[in-house]
Amino acid sequence: MLGDGILKGLAETARNFFGSYVSRDRLTTIQYPEQRDPQIEAARSFPFLVFDGADWQQGLRCVSCQICEKECPPKCIFIEKSKDKKPDAVGKPQFYPVRFDIDISVCMSCQICVEVCPFDAIKMDVDYDLSTDDRFGGLLLDRQRLAKSNEHYNKIHPTEAAAVDAALAEERAKAKAAAEAKASAAAKAATEAKAAAVANPAPAPQPAAGESQ
């Protein structure tokens, strides 16, 4: 009969209408600013700069190599390299960015800066409610707003951050061991150096690789 499909449809919407009052779990929407969906680990919005330790200015991993600035497709990164060197988190003197700006109104969240960074200094954030009433200043993030601690990174991308931390720790341990080996090799006599060579065969070529980086 003409119209029975319409009646069927009307019954369906009526069921939904009354059902939404009866059972709460029918309601699929969440009350956004108060409630938020848990984010999946792969979520990403805009880049941020990772720092180690407590002081963001000192702990910034970025050494101002400017690779990301050159690679950025929409050219939203602006870096000003420092003239001097400052000790980084582990105490090694490094260049650091005097200015590091990302214009997130231009950024297209492609993650290329993260891919090219050799120091694991820039990572993707998950913050998304970044709207502001100042569309020029408010969306141009400077060094301070970009700097976020490694703990934050660990919180938003646990697996990835753990891998990065492990790799960094290993690298640092190797560098430390190599430095120690070097120092001890220089200081100790040739007989003691022979014993050291037996103890550490593997890391011996490693410092060379580390220096070439």
Binding site: I6, G9, L10, T13, A14, L27, T29
Partner: protein, 391 residues
């Protein structure tokens, strides 16, 4: 007491008019009624936008607006302030005078129909003796306003929307008028007051609403379908067609003029719904004789809200029609059915009162309906689409 409560607005008006000199009393009486009607139905418009958003939300398992005020009740107010404070943009190529007049004419035309709608016992602005005709005549003014809006904007979308709207409104005006003629045939009067008075009588507890007769039921359904199309409501909202022509004829309007279009559309919808109530659902008459103590205007607005809810329900259910489906429905289904319904009403009129005319009239309506439904269904074969110009 119930008498006073029923007539409270009429008495209040007379009391107020008592303070004025007799010379300007008729004028002030009309003015008071007009202001009251505009205020009441504009408020109803605000409530309806809220109801609609809430209802549609619930049908889609959402909450609907819930931020502004308790349960989002102040949402219409916020929307109003927003549209009032928005910039009013007129396209550079637009025909400025016509562009400005279109929304004004639309709202004016949509409010004109209320002059003959009996809202309660003794509550009608003017008891015109050609009231129903007047209603449809001012309804046709809306087409002109829609055309003016679509043409003056100088935008292809608005012109397309206006073309669609006019084609649709003209097509559905025919079944709309034909569906209401059965009532006029039965009452022998074009006066809305007389039509309601005919229905406000009871057999036992049952009212004499025309919807409770075979031709009345069919007429009511046909009238409502045509009214849905007349007021450009979903599933007949092709003139707006957000997904294809964005907003149709009012795409180039912004700010308050846009709100006026919105208002005009809803006011027009209320007017046609109120006409359906007047013609078929007994106007302000109570549904049972033992409920006549409830003030008549409350019944009217209860019925109006029920029909508005039905509109919202249908909007939440049905997808938009295609233009050819729309026209086919109008000319292949609605028009024959209204004519057959007219025949049924005529037979009812001339058969002796009794039980016999019920099955006869019901059969006159139902059998062609079933046949027509079957015929239309059989015709609907899926086939490879052919194109006239692109091949």
């Amino acid at each position: 007491m119930t008498q006073t409560l029923d007539q409270i607005f009429v008495l209040a008006k007379h009391w107020l008019l008592g303070f004025l000199p007799a010379a300007i009393q008729p004028f002030c009486s009309a003015l008071l009624s007009v202001v009251a009607i505009i205020l009441v139905f504009a408020t109803l418009f605000a409530i309806t936008t809220w109801l609609e958003r809430k209802g549609l939300g619930r049908m889609q398992n959402r909450l609907g607006p819930n931020r502004v005020g308790p349960c989002g009740l102040l949402q219409p107010l916020a929307d109003g302030i927003k549209s009032l404070t928005k910039e009013d943009i007129v396209p550079a190529a637009a025909d400025h005078a016509v562009h400005f007049m279109a929304p004004v004419l639309l709202v004016a035309a949509s409010f004109l129909g209320y002059a003959v709608l009996p809202i309660g016992r003794n509550m009608v602005l003017t008891n015109l003796n050609a009231g129903v005709l007047y209603f449809f005549a001012v309804g046709s003014l809306m087409e002109l306003a829609v055309f003016m809006a679509g043409w003056s904007s100088r935008s292809k979308y608005s012109l397309l929307g206006a073309m669609r709207a006019i084609a649709q409104m003209i097509s559905y005006e025919v079944p709309l008028v034909l569906a209401s003629i059965v009532v006029i045939l039965h009452t022998g009067s074009l006066s809305t007051v007389a039509i309601v008075d005919r229905q406000a009588v009871y057999t036992g507890i049952w009212p004499h609403w025309f919807v409770f007769t075979p031709w009345g039921l069919a007429g009511f359904v046909l009238f409502m379908v045509a009214a849905t199309a007349e007021s450009n409501r979903s599933p007949f909202d092709l003139p707006e067609g957000e997904s294809e022509i964005i907003a149709g004829y009012y795409i180039e309007y912004s700010g308050f003029k846009f709100a006026l279009f919105f208002l005009g559309e809803y006011i027009g919808m209320f007017a046609t719904s109120a006409m359906a109530i007047t013609l078929f659902l007994g106007g302000w008459a109570a549904p049972f004789s033992f409920l006549t103590w409830v003030p008549s205007y409350l019944w009217f607005f209860a019925k109006l809200l029920a029909i508005i809810s039905a509109f919202i329900w249908v909007r939440g259910t049905l997808p938009r029609l295609r233009m050819d489906q729309l026209m086919n429905l109008a000319w292949q289904f609605m028009l024959p059915m209204t004519l057959i319904n007219l025949l049924a009403a005529g037979v009812w009129q001339f058969m002796p009162a009794g039980v016999a005319r019920w099955p006869v009239c019901a059969a006159i309506v139902a059998v062609p309906f079933l046949l027509l439904a079957r015929g239309l269904k059989q015709k609907r074969k899926f086939q490879l689409r052919t194109y006239r110009f692109s091949q």
